[in-house]
Symmetry: D2
Subunit: 365 residues, 4 copies
């Protein structure tokens, strides 16, 4: 693991998720640019001190030098955004698969370089688009792609938070609102990309054009903290994507609504164990977790029976399970290198559209 030292948030979440199913073990890390922090974190995690490294370069080299049955299998990247690329690059160059937080890199150029490198090395690369790990999101994808809703017409996807409504001062806020660390976009890069990814994942269609209106509401902020986007997808699908971090009182409001010719679906991350399905002339249905009417694939993603809520950590653990299966037996990935490129491409298109007064802009890759 690279990143995730004292004071970080998402690193510990990764560790909880990776540990849950007893399939993975954290064996080494470079947890902070501050060597003392890294060392302390390693101690608290009970790691062999010789495998707690001062920086990621040291880690890559030392681990690569270990025998195959000893060295780490893959690298988890849980740093602020601007460090994603150099770490992923080093990992791939040293022969390690990569599971990285999103966005993949700070710009499109970098992610394209990564794609080339992954292709060349044949190594696995995936993004932790956690929300794809929710079983009912998988079920939504199955229903939509099986044609159960007819041809899809309209997609609404939102990711609404409120924690940056004021001029927050903490470690999480600090790097997310700093262009040098976060990249070209704040809110859209941080959470808008999840919404974009979710829309493409469940429909199986690419978002081709966007017309974006990005905003900075908090005084003094340098990156967007809110935005809404009209979009077009392949096959004539239209939609709206909103992401915000200034909607006071909203927590982690990722919601999805998809409407086809003959049916619809709606799902919300904050109550993830239910999904509504609508029909033309029948009552709406409420699909719930771990039920026998879900596909076997979806059922297999639950650890407990219906009525026992599973949440964010379980979804995250599903992402880790999927990645380890992909490494060991070649299984598919929900968000692999193509998603990574498309996520960056989406951000670039938003920035471009914003520059041109919200003009329709092609998402290039």
């Amino acid at each position: 693991m690279v990143g995730g030292g004292q004071g970080a948030f998402i690193g510990e979440v990764h560790r909880l998720a990776a540990r849950l199913d007893n399939k993975l073990e954290l064996v080494c890390g470079a947890f902070s640019r501050d060597a003392e922090n890294s060392k302390l974190t390693g101690q608290q995690l009970g790691l062999d001190p010789s495998r707690v490294y001062k920086d990621f370069d040291a880690m890559m080299k030392a681990e690569a030098a270990l025998s195959e049955d000893q060295r780490m299998d893959f690298v988890s990247i849980v740093t602020p955004n601007h460090v994603h690329y150099p770490v992923a690059k080093a990992a791939l160059e040293n022969g390690f698969h990569v599971l990285s937080d999103k966005p993949a890199t700070k710009d499109l150029e970098e992610v394209q370089a990564l794609r080339a490198l992954a292709k060349q090395t044949g190594l696995k690369y995936a993004l932790t688009h956690t929300y794809l790990g929710y079983p009912l999101v998988r079920s939504a994808r199955e229903l939509i792609q099986s044609g159960a809703l007819g041809s899809i017409r309209k997609v609404f996807v939102e990711y609404i938070q409120g924690w940056l409504a004021t001029d927050v001062q903490n470690k999480q806020a600090e790097w997310r609102t700093d262009p040098a660390k976060s990249g070209k976009s704040g809110c859209m890069g941080d959470i808008g990309t999840h919404a974009h990814n979710l829309a493409e994942y469940v429909t199986g269609k690419r978002m081709t054009h966007v017309a974006a209106d990005l905003n900075i509401f908090a005084p003094g902020r340098l990156l967007d903290d809110d935005g809404s986007v009209l979009f077009r997808m392949e096959d004539g699908i239209k939609g709206v994507l909103s992401a915000s971090q200034i909607c006071v009182g909203c927590e982690n409001g990722l919601t999805l609504r998809v409407y086809g010719e003959t049916g619809g679906l709606s799902w919300a991350q904050e109550n993830p164990n239910r999904m509504m399905r609508t029909y033309l002339d029948r009552p709406a249905e409420i699909l719930t977790s771990a039920q026998s009417y879900l596909s076997e694939d979806v059922q297999s993603m639950y650890r407990t029976p219906a009525g026992h809520p599973e949440g964010y950590l379980e979804a995250f653990a599903n992402i880790y399970l999927e990645f380890s299966r992909a490494i060991s037996s070649g299984g598919s990935l929900s968000a692999s290198m193509d998603s990574a490129v498309r996520g960056m491409s989406f951000i670039e298109a938003l920035i471009e559209s914003q520059k041109h007064n919200s003009a329709w802009t092609e998402v290039l890759q």
Copy 2:
């Protein structure tokens, strides 16, 4: 009343609403272009046959000829859209106040002519923007305009239905999807204007610019049946408005969310007796109908105590009460002539934006 004969929908709703509070009596009508239909409707309503007219012109002239204490006080216009203007014009010209369904007219020119006429005659004119009659919408307006949420930043407003997802064939669908009767827009004219009006009503700010993406999804349809709009309002407010009639399984999904610097509100028409209010560092609150913590003004809009759901008809009746108070004692109107003009201006701006590939377009009036 003009319109509202056999087979119509909204005319009977007007009559139910007008009757509820025992303040108004239907005294005459021209209910249909089909004289037989009109006559039959009048009979069923127990009207004096001499005051059931063959057309609205006849009605205006005959009623104007009656003595002041005998003739009707005002005209309710409940016809398809294209007839709103000629009836309203005739009413004003003959000295009658007008309560009209929206949209006011089929284009901006007509509504401007109406405004001039209303100004000249000093008569009252109002639109039945029914949703403004919900007490918690009034409460939202009070809270927002009192500054309780701080400066407003973002508004989400939606009006989502599903009844036109297929190629429906009935009287309601027929005129709403016919450009000759409905006007320049289908879905946006029919329900998008309600959403527009609601956003302006609760914030007290004008929507100044729109970037619209209107769609026709049902094969063969001639007018938009779906659309999403990015918008800007006065004082830097940004927002998104979506309206659709093809979202399968949605019924009458008018929802409003407003976020300011220090708080937020959300409300949904389908469960109108509750509204959520959010804060920066306190739990969200659920405001419910007829409670003592609402303003006296809002409390006075309920007919039953807390916990007794009031719905669409009661909201509609509140619009009638407001209009009759405005006539008798000069009270203010939620949606008067200025709203009527602005609604048409909004539609014109959408059409214009749509023509220019969703370019930002000013809402002129």
Copy 3:
């Protein structure tokens, strides 16, 4: 109408409901024991002063003396409980149908006398069990009695309010908590009977035995303000009924859940336009108002299309419509004399069970 003068609550609700559908007209009344109040109320309602009576006896005699086409068709009784019986008796004796608020009388003896009188006169008698006027309650009854849920096993019914949590001082609270005016029971008589009636109505089965635990929580109160009841119904159905007026923050929480061998239903009065239906191996369904999948009978109870919330007043108006149909064309009544007797019998059984330390007690009639 008897009762419903200045300061009363439910009388005005009756008038709103009766007026809504334009089928009924209030023609006379004895609105208060205070003749001045009665007179004033009559004036405000625009009644002929000669038909505003000083008391109900005067009204019965004077109206009976009018010609058949002039006199009132039936009497609405909207007084405090203790006056229900004498008024109903006088009405029946003078040849008038009766629509009475519940409970029918202050004890079982009185309601039995009423039943005899109704039988003897052949006149109609019904109680305003308002909640039976909600269309989805009708739909629940249809589904249950058609066997769609299999044999019914368990019924949960609650009516939970909070308005008497403190020592409230107002006209509504005053008579409801006074044994001389309210009868033998406070909370159970006031709202528990609605819950009892609802359980019997939807299942079509009689509640045969009760084991009751009634409580007085507010200091100084003389009648129960809370209670829970285990019950048995015909055909082996078991259940629980709770009613309370001291559950702080609850408004008018009448809820129903019914479970049979193969399905279940749940409905809540505060959001009456939806009902959940559950199945053994399929997703739960959400049935909503005015939809085409409801029976024609149920659809006919709505005045507006799906998505337009109808509430308490509309339900109440449905009770009036039903009663007027029953008078004019012999249609059936949701809550007729048998319900009235059973409601009183239920109260008597609760009191008896309470006296015997919650022992199982037969509901006699």
Copy 4:
């Protein structure tokens, strides 16, 4: 760990929960009476084969013989009910703390023997009343016991499932419906005890008397699959407890509502990250997970920020954390030996009340 071999459900849940926070390691087990199953389970869990035992007796003896730093710290008991007692007894006798599934034993006598043994040995004993591990349940307890709701008056607690509505044939159903393995009660022992425990936990008051109506609905079943209970607690609190396994379509419906003189709370396990708080004259509040307005103690129970749903496994992990803290540093336990005794005492009282036609029966211990 004793129990939790192939085909079991709750054993794996224990392992997931124990592992989550990286504080505990599974070191040995006797997973099944079938030695082969036990061995296989041990293999799959990566245990040292020498510490996978053929039965719990062997395990206790062998582990006790290990040096203190090698042997297990405590035993998790995850067997069917009838085995809880012999295992717990053996563990305590051999010097091991015990964390056991509920109910503690098959009757009151056994649990009293256990209590004596625990007292004598000074070892820790706790039950996995998982639902006490939900942070908002902890918050409910704090609010109630701080007096924030005033003196408590009424408690509603339910645990409603539907999975035994039919004659289910699987391993879970098999032992739960077998008196020899499950104990004197089916549904009440399995889930009613959770409801009982929750009511006592949040109020801090003992349930003193019960009047029970237990039912067997599924043909051929030998133990109750449904029941409702009137209850009295210390300090005049009244309540109703319902538990059922035949409510078709219900999943794991544990709900709690508590009303005091000045406020109320409601919480539902299936959406555990929100709790409603009501007031006399203010809007209800929605408390949500991990928010700054919760106590520090409650906040510390979350692993992720507000808006990231945590569920059943996280609650279960909190129980493990609490138990390991109690062992290492003497922290308190939510459900210790006294709860265990009271749970059995509650069941005994239900059975006794049921025998006496639902008579009020004292909960003795």
